[in-house]
Amino acid sequence: MAHPSTYQPASGIGRWFDSRLPVPRVMHDQFMVFPTPRNLNYWWTFGGILSFMLAVQMATGVVLAMHFVPTPEGAFDSVEKIMRDVNWGWLLRYSHAVGASMFFLAVYIHTFRGLYYGSYKAPREVLWILGVLILLLMIATAFMGYSLVWGQMSFWAVTVITNLFSSLDALIPGLGTVLVEWIWGGFSVGGPTLNRLYALHYLFPFVIAGVVILHIWALHVPGNNNPTGVDVKTAKDTIPFHPYYTIKDGFALVVFLIVFAALLFYAPNFLGHPDNYVPANPLQTPPHIVPEWYFLPFYAILRAIPNKLFGVIGLIGSISILFFVPWLDTSRIRSTSYRPIYKWFFWLFVVTCIALGYLGSQAPDGWYLFFGRLCTAYYFGFFLLIMPIVGLIERPKRLPGSITQSVLGSEAPQRAVSSESAPEGVA
């Protein structure tokens, strides 16, 4: 949706700069006057929250990098030195660790918002794909970051997950082993592995930032989706991003920060695992190897499938399937609010994901394994069966004629409305 720019530089210097590098113009057009649907609810504040969290992780990460030592002998000790001796080190380290959890909490809410409201549907498919790419990069970055502490969980999580690649030996003999030793830089996880994880962990956030810029760009071409899923039809359907959504995002951010601060100051290790306060010991495997909470659903899926290679395929598949969602969902209706049958399946999917998270934290036997398999079946079934089939057979509720109508007009869902929603003559 291209709008002509209305930016007028306020000063001589402003005009001089604008004719050479129109950054203030872009900021004005895209983040101040940008026409945004007037009916966005608080689920739409998580994009702004995520941008803030990326900045927090980058800022705390850079200052932590000034003190971290990326060697097996020095890593754990350097983290303790940060916690004890570096000025505010404890605050910076806990901010970074708890911040990673908050980052994932926000990205999951943001993703589920996209799923619920059909924000992945045409013409926003590329926007969605870029989002899934950001999620993948975040997963990689967080995994590498956790390994740097070089505690027992760090070391063994890297060992287990990189060892998964050796399952490729079942496809082509020797391929998996070559790949794993290339990743390790040796015959087991060690110093070379740690060093390269550090280098890549520092790099990836900048890649994420670049993809985020593309993500926002891809959003601004069609403009935001909204809770009704109905397209913007007239100027009356939109309001300028500033001040309405800057202030709303700001409020949501402060509430989010209250949760962040509560965890950071009063339970900073609640989401972590005590075993990571034991220095890495290559000769002793912890009784239960578990990843951080935000990986648990995928971990449960991995362990639910009895075959090593297919387990790995399941793990990768559980994230990659997200790329195909725009084409898996056959419904012409975007927003689940107007899809009464699909809605049940959607919420069951949410419950399944939460259940998979819990199951990932337990040893995979007995009832835990059974439910892990059941939930894995539903997880894939939701994407591969529910999305295509329900979209075709469902009879949706009537959509509102326009965004403005949904805000100002009748709330009764079954009332017939004319498609002529905007009164004539309104400027």
Partner: protein
Amino acid sequence: MANPETSTDSSLLPDDDPSRRDVILIGAGAFAAIGGAAVLWPLLDQMNPDASTLSLSTTEVDIAPIEEGQAITVMWRGKPIFIRHRTAKEIDEAKEVKLDKLIDPLARNANLPEDAEATDANRAASDREPWLVMIGICTHLGCIPKGQAVGDYKGEYGGWFCPCHGSQYDTAGRVRVGPAPQNMYIPPYAFTSDTKIKIG
């Protein structure tokens, strides 16, 4: 003409209480500024020397092995410390210098007040004039002057010579030829016994 629905120009829209809204917004802005400053400070302060660095502030040196005319260099807080056991000739030469001949008339001694003069008594260890303890860094641009080893060229004043830009120091470590502007600094130190010095 600007569209009233999409314009951010508040004059186009009816307002019932702009002043109250402004107060709240100013409050929000103030809180954001305070929050921003509170977040920024730890990010900057973490670069300051940490607690373990600050604690490594003393070094003990055994000076018994240093013969007359000899000097040793020890490390303290990452800096070289020159400890010279001066000969009687070196002491006399230092004492004879008139203060107005010095480039830098101040003692630069952390154990004395800032305005103490650069007399030999104020430079050497109190009551132990053969002993000179200095931070061995040229006050010009930070090179380490030559003069500690017996065979070093010590400059025209018999003290130390900086090879980087030619500054020369006398036998009390005072600068006599520039471009160095100040005498070599004397760190805080004390004799804990006749043969031991505690620096810092």
